[in-house]
């Protein structure tokens, strides 16, 4: 008990110190400083290339300790059994994924949220916790659904920026999803969609993309962080060196959050010779999970209808 309390105290102090340092260090907005991006043949900043985030935001946007798995079962007291009076201090991987062992573990990571925490409304914070507890049933990534914005950016897969003359493509490897960033006026989206409707502009060296018309089916990470169809995202891609961009996304959703909030992270250039994106047709990987060999899983409830 004493050790546990000291652990909590140490952790709280560390969190406070970390938060203070981090907040002081965090600039209001990414700036390229002295760096000027190379120019394309038509004079625009050249963001062409294959990029990837290298962090744990895909597990959880917020700060988190390492843990055994994303899907956990509470540690059972084993006091009834002689010699097994102690229970493990950590929850254990859920039976569905226990066989993954350490490969199913979750590395700890810093928050990528400016200010540290996502400003949920109270009901939404509770919903996020419920989402996390029911991750295996609810995370759209598990079903190979398009990841939405900004989640597509920091999934553990590369993506490619392809700068055309009138539009810029962002091609993601996961689920073979592509966004078209319109750089001229194309009017409004006819429908809400998984990847939204993206209108871009240049602010000096920064590509600014306003993303609207997103549906409410996507998440932000594997920790259950979510939004409604009122979501609006403003992304900023700023070249910082030949090898990295600073990525910022400001998230507005008055149905779920108390105020707009921002995530920020570097994106790194993939430098392998002749690197390219590959197909990732994950539909093929989830059909048995979703439809069963003979039965059908109800897509709404996730329950198997035998």
């Amino acid at each position: 008990m004493r050790i546990g309390f000291r652990g909590v105290l140490a952790s709280a102090v560390a969190t406070a110190v970390f938060a203070a340092l981090w907040l002081n260090a965090a600039p209001v907005r990414a700036q390229a400083g002295d760096y000027t991006a190379p120019r394309t043949a038509d004079g625009r900043p050249d963001l062409n290339g294959i990029w990837q985030a290298l962090n744990t935001a895909h597990y959880d946007l917020e700060a988190h300790s390492a843990r055994p798995a994303l899907a956990l079962t509470a540690a059972l007291p084993r006091a009834e059994q002689p010699g097994l009076g102690r229970s493990t201090p950590v929850p254990m991987p859920a039976p569905e994924i226990r066989a993954l062992g350490a490969a199913g573990g979750v590395p700890g990571g810093e928050s990528v949220v400016v200010g540290g925490e996502i400003p949920y409304q109270p009901w939404a914070a509770a919903r996020r916790d419920e989402n996390a507890a029911r991750w295996l049933e609810r995370d759209p990534e598990i079903k190979c659904y398009m990841p939405g914005v900004p989640r597509a950016t920091y999934m553990p897969y590369p993506f490619q920026i392809l700068q055309g003359t009138n539009e810029i493509l962002i091609a993601y490897e996961f689920a073979d999803t592509t966004r078209t960033i319109f750089m001229s006026d194309v009017g409004d989206s006819p429908e809400p969609t998984w990847m939204g409707w993206s209108r871009g502009r240049w602010e000096e060296d920064t590509l600014v993309v306003e993303v609207t018309d997103l549906n409410d089916r996507t998440w932000f990470d594997r920790a259950g962080n979510f939004h409604s169809d009122a979501l609006r995202v403003v992304e900023r891609y700023t070249p910082m060196s030949p090898y990295h961009l600073m990525y910022e996304a400001t998230i507005e959703d008055a149905n779920v959050f108390t105020r707009p909030w921002t995530i920020r992270m570097p994106l790194y250039r993939r430098l392998e010779t002749d690197k390219r994106l590959f197909d990732y047709k994950c539909v093929e990987y989830v059909e048995q999970l979703m439809y069963g060999e003979l039965g059908v899983v109800d897509p709404e409830t996730g329950e198997q209808n035998d």
Binding site: N48, T165, P190, E191, D274, D279, G292, L294, G295, V296
Partner: protein
């Protein structure tokens, strides 16, 4: 018949005649005055825009046109009249069968008039002189191996019928995977739009249906060795023609395909040529070689049309909204007596 259609039909007539006489696989440039090929800021021919095949010419030559590579001027005019009439009927809500089919019996999906939206071009298809898109072999037919011909008949017989015992029984399209690379540029109305975007060293083709995407390097690299569903495409410029060679397909011949001539196989080898010949027209040829499916290579010559600026490709969330799969499988279970009927 619009002036443009007339013009293009004549051009294609000349083109088709040239193919017959010279037996080349490339079409000669359409003669258009006062048009010059625009270039990207880095100097490549500019192929960007949204393109699709708008013609009424089928892939294979219909049996009643056997021995004839082209239609007469009168036949072209009549075909154009019929296509215009069908488009007008569709617009007026009078046409109850799939476009290009004159009766319900010919409709590809039996008893499912609702499915005509899959075939709705939105505007009249264009009448070309070619009697088949296939220009080689000269009979205008797919040169199937015997095994592939049986597989094609089997696929036709299963279509819309089943059995549907498992998610492996519907075809790759119904499973929201892909319908294959072969017909991507010219599949026609449903999701047949292709946005071409060029960036230095790459030509990217975004195909609407299944959001199939081909990021084609044109930076001088060689093919690698990693097999993929859509293969590995590598391109280069020959003059103003983009030549794309695609190999390294996965073997997915064991899956059901809506059209087995589009199926992915490890021996599939595709060569495509894209040449813009006017503001709105592209000559596209595709040569397909796969000993697993065909006795010899075949080539199709396809006139592709650039759609007006402002026409977009929209998100294709097929798997995300695939209610057909659970419904097919649950119905299959009821039919097999493995589950009680909801009624």
């Amino acid at each position: 018949m619009s002036r443009r259609t007339q013009k293009l039909s004549r051009a294609v007539l000349v083109v088709a005649a040239a193919i017959i006489t010279s037996n080349t696989e490339r079409l000669p440039a359409q003669e258009v005055d006062d048009w010059t090929l625009s270039r990207t800021p880095w100097g490549d021919p500019d192929l960007q825009g949204v393109w699709r095949y708008e013609g009424a010419t089928p892939l294979e030559r219909p049996d009643d046109l056997a021995g004839r590579a082209t239609l007469t001027d009168e036949e072209i005019a009549e075909l154009a009249r019929i296509e215009a009439e069908r488009a007008a009927n569709r617009e007026a809500g009078l046409d109850g069968v799939a476009v290009g089919r004159s009766t319900l019996d010919e409709s590809p999906i039996r008893g499912n008039e609702y499915n005509i939206f899959w075939q709705d071009h939105g505007r009249a298809r264009q009448a070309y002189a070619q009697t088949s898109l296939i220009v080689d072999p000269l009979d205008g037919k797919l040169p199937y191996t015997d095994d592939a011909r049986i597989a094609a008949r089997r696929s036709d017989a299963r279509y819309g019928v089943g059995p549907y015992e498992s998610y492996l029984d519907p075809d790759t399209g119904e499973r929201c995977l892909t319908d294959g690379v072969t017909a991507i540029m010219w599949q026609g109305p449903n999701g047949g739009h292709n946005r071409i975007v060029q960036s230095p060293g790459f030509v990217t083709i975004l195909h609407e249906e299944y959001r199939d995407r081909r990021i084609i390097p044109v930076d001088g690299r060689e093919h690698g060795s990693i097999r993929q569903w859509l293969g590995e495409a590598v391109g280069h410029w020959e003059g103003d023609t983009l030549v794309v060679e695609t190999i390294n397909f996965l073997d997915r011949t064991n899956y059901e395909w809506a059209s087995i001539w589009t199926r992915a196989s490890e021996s599939l080898h595709i060569i495509e040529r894209f040449r813009r010949v006017s503001e709105t027209d592209m000559e596209y040829t595709i040569t397909v070689e796969d000993p697993k499916t065909f006795t010899r290579p075949w080539t199709a010559a396809v006139p592709i049309t650039r759609l007006p600026d402002g026409i977009q490709i929209y998100e294709y969330a097929c798997h995300e909204g695939n209610r057909a799969m659970p419904n097919l499988l649950s119905a299959g279970r009821v039919e097999a007596g493995l589950a009680p009927s909801a009624n």
